[in-house]
Symmetry: C2
Subunit: 578 residues, 2 copies
């Protein structure tokens, strides 16, 4: 900081691709502060080292920062983030703040600058100031890349490039810079394992009207794959060559870049005409093709069977063995792993027993989690990556007797989930409009949940896939239109702190309902816990919907269950309500 004349240094929690999950090379914030949560901003000044994080992480951060020089600050939901307000108050006029400009998007950079300028504080972006001082920094991962074959992907690279180029023509741009790892993986039908749970690989790409260049370290690709890419007129360049490439673009090259995705350093380095717009692939990829959808439906049946096997095992052994939340998470992954085309978990399973279920981002650790017993509620949110689809499902079960409150709360959550899944809505409707359908019944009891209601999901790609979702705020998820072909999670919940958490999550596919309207098809296949349902609170319509679903689930899932005893157990779980 001194060498560069900086009064302060900002550390965001991102990588040069604005990824949600990071390769460990980019875990700068946790290396520096010791805080391991997934959200936060660190600021170092000459007098102060502060970490700002949100309410989910207050307790964790307090404990991880204890006995260090770091002070925890609370992040609030104000329009101007609390760390910016802190800087406005604590830094004097003329101060310069440094930051790795690759770890924030061009939009964020503009926003920060706008907030700081009136205070005469400048934000100076660098390419890398950390590697010099982080001695044992993990290398940039070099895991092999493999092809996601067309049998699963449904569309060839050439078809996708054509689709993208058609849009480029409409937008009147010559080049299109891709930096989001899942955008690149989708476009080229390639997958990797540089990031935990997300089958992506570190890369950039630039597509112009004639060719496409993939910036990735060649040693990650086997010769056959290189040949195949070259045949498709795709050039390979080094991952680190992207800056030079952008720098040498012709001056009149119109380059489409998504300012919310492209990092500030890359954005600056472009020599051509910067055309700010939404990433084409973000939207193209969100519309699943018919082959992907066929696989999705099939994979949901396999996935439901794996869950049936895991939960049947739990039922059989809960009184005999010591089973922890972590053990169950492992068992679920193991059952999934026996299904065809399994690749890995789509995220670290949340198995939250009793009061742990009320911690929204809870993750059981092997040495430090609850032992399951024959009473209380159990929340299980888990998912699998399969070559033929990605799953994400939450079910809440009772492990014993059910209280009136548990039944009331479960039924309110279920009614909301069903109301959202059952709506017919006109084209152009956005996530923030639909979100309330899942909350209305909780609201009528003065209850609510603090998270959004759903997110887009990839096809053998990231479990959180932009743009669309169901949200109660004006986030990208809230503002994006729900279009035919999208697959989105529907996951309302209720959390009684210190007691239990309830969440029910299905993936739903938006389809054309004719006359300019859309409706949803439920993809996820697993029964609800009927012992938690208060049927007297349901309409006749809701009851028929649940019963028809249970019949459908049993018919489609049971063929994938190996053991007949499990099938019999599962049949009971798919019971009708009266």
């Amino acid at each position: 900081m001194n060498a560069n004349g900086l009064e302060a240094f900002f550390i965001s929690g991102s990588d040069p691709h604005q990824s949600e999950y990071l390769a460990s090379h980019w875990n700068i914030r946790s290396w520096l502060t010791g805080f391991t949560g997934s959200a936060g901003v660190a600021i170092v000044t000459k007098e102060h080292a502060g970490l700002w994080t949100d309410s989910r992480y207050y307790i964790q951060a307090e404990s991880e920062l204890k006995d260090t020089e770091w002070t925890m600050h609370k992040m609030d939901s104000n329009a101007i983030p609390s760390y910016i307000r802190w800087v406005q108050e604590h830094l004097h006029k003329g101060s310069v703040i440094g930051m790795d400009g690759r770890t924030l998007s061009h939009s964020q950079y503009g926003q920060f600058d706008k907030w700081l300028k009136p205070y005469h504080i400048a934000l100076q972006i660098y390419s890398d100031l950390i590697s010099e001082i982080w001695e044992d920094r993990p290398e940039i991962p070099e895991n092999p890349i493999f092809e996601h074959v067309i049998k699963f992907a449904g569309k060839s690279r050439q078809e996708k490039l054509e689709q993208v180029r058609k849009k480029m023509e409409e937008l009147n741009v010559n080049s299109y810079l891709l930096t989001a790892l899942d955008d690149i993986a989708w476009t080229f039908n390639l997958r990797g394992s540089d990031v935990e749970c997300n089958p992506v690989f570190l890369s950039y790409a630039c597509i112009n009207r004639e060719e496409a260049i993939l910036f990735v370290n060649e040693k990650k690709l086997d010769p056959e794959l290189i040949d195949s890419l070259k045949k498709d007129n795709i050039k390979i360049a080094n991952y680190s060559d992207i800056m030079d490439f952008l720098n040498q673009l012709p001056e009149n090259e119109k380059v489409l870049m998504d300012p919310t995705q492209v990092n500030a350093v890359l954005w600056k380095s472009v020599n051509g005409i910067k055309e700010s717009g939404q990433s084409i692939v973000k939207w193209e990829k969100s519309i699943k093709n018919d082959v992907e959808l066929k696989h999705f439906r099939h994979t949901m049946a396999k996935d439901g069977a794996a869950l049936a096997e895991a939960f049947h095992w739990l039922d059989q052994n809960i009184e005999k063995l010591k089973i922890t939340e972590f053990d169950l998470a492992m068992k679920i992954a193991e059952c999934r792993s026996r299904k065809a085309h399994y690749y890995g978990e789509s995220f670290h399973a949340i198995v939250g027993y009793r009061s742990n279920g009320a911690i929204v981002h809870y993750r059981p650790l092997p040495e430090q989690c609850a032992i399951l017993e024959s009473s209380g509620l159990l929340l299980v949110d888990s998912g699998g990556q399969y070559l033929d689809g990605t799953t994400d499902i939450t079910r809440t079960f009772t492990m014993g007797e059910v209280s009136a409150d548990e039944k009331l709360h479960y039924t309110l959550v279920l009614k909301g989930m069903l109301a959202l899944s059952s709506i017919q809505f006109p084209a152009g409707t956005t996530g923030i409009q639909l979100d309330i359908l899942a909350r209305q019944f909780l609201w009528s009891h003065g209850l609510d949940y603090g998270h959004g209601t759903g997110h887009g999901i990839g096809f053998f790609l990231n479990v959180h896939e932009p743009p669309q979702g169901f949200a109660h705020t004006l986030s990208e998820r809230g503002k994006s239109t729900i279009k035919p072909g999208m697959v989105t999670s529907n996951e309302p919940g209720y959390y009684k702190v210190g007691h239990y958490g309830i969440r029910i999550e299905n993936l739903i596919h938006s389809i054309d309902a004719g006359n300019g309207f859309l409706k949803f098809e439920t993809l996820t296949l697993y029964p609800y816990d009927t012992s938690l349902i208060d049927a007297s609170m349901l309409s006749q319509n809701e009851i028929s919907t649940i019963n028809a679903y249970h019949t459908y689930v049993f018919d489609h899932v049971s063929p994938f269950i190996e053991d007949p005893e499990t099938v019999a157990w599962f049949k009971e779980k798919c019971a009708q309500i009266l």
Copy 2:
């Protein structure tokens, strides 16, 4: 244009205060083009004269522009307006467009500039280029201003100024520029009649920590009122002095201005530090005080009685007299005018018989409107300005036999209106979240309506009062939070083009429901048309709500009905449904 080196000239449809309704002095667009609709943009180039308007006005504009040099263009709902795209395509690099910078807000100016800059087209703002060429331009109105006494307003000027200064302190600004006419009228407890239907007067105001300056032509005020304002430490300056005043502010004066309200010329003329933020009064005024609310409730009863008298007259005379839509509008205004503290219409009543009801912004003209008969649907949307409140109510009636479709559509609209009125919701909820409640039942039948669901309303002020509302788009109404004390219209509809229009509108008051939740109190008092309700489509809850409302309406409205025969008729109209 030639004298100023302009390639094009833009004409918006606004005044220097960004008013929705204009004094005729500002009707530049209609003077220039002959088009009398309320929405549109005119652009003149050396080769072309174009008027852009939206779908509501296509037919009207086509007919009004016929045989003129003007060409109608269609305005679409694209992110970049179609007239901007037209300019981007038709003007060459280096062109300069002129515009009266007082007729667009600073935000709009910035937005236009952002769209045009990449095309190397400049937008040059002027103060007035039209007066020189508009020979018989109507004068700026000089109607008298009067006090809105505290008995009605509930709070004195001093109290309001104190309330505003407290917010100014929180925002750390020295001065606050008010340009919205209703903001000024509210703050100073003054009313005028410079604009039809809106009891406001042309003025600006600037409030600083010690004093307030009202920029208004002094001859509009009587000496007593001037004295009273001076006693309250309010200075009077000329309306036209505002520019010089802003120009001479000290350089370090922090001036709060709302960029969506302050016009581009005024914004530019400010010498101090421009603090961009929402108008304080916009939000303070939207929260009605207890006195205003008490008056609102009382005024709704008077207003309901006036409607009962008008509709009873219609019922008695429909077979005897020739009654047109316009006649009924006049009759309603006449019945209202007999009630205490009546001041005038709050907007030109929409009386839409049969297919006219399907034209959302229909207004019957004396010489050119339908004659009412004993069949078909009649939509009546009207409102009154009273010293003790502003009303806005829509009811749809059948004039004879009811078809199955009419009943279905009326009941779907009614169910939506009731669902929105009955919701309990957490603090922080915005209009776009709630809007869907009014649409959901229509959607389930593949139907919808093209307008928002509601708008804020003033207290003896503008019938459309920002910020809040219920909207399906990310407009100000959609994005604003519904707060306790706000009064908002709830007016879903269904329009069967060529056949009939249905709309049901109540004003609803948002109140604290405890535990961080809000709910609505219905203020409007007039029964629904029970012969249009299909009770088999209603839940038990909905039926009880309607019956309780009808009882409440009769009890509260009938004391204000003069004629006993009308009371007996009204009793039947407030019938229970079974």
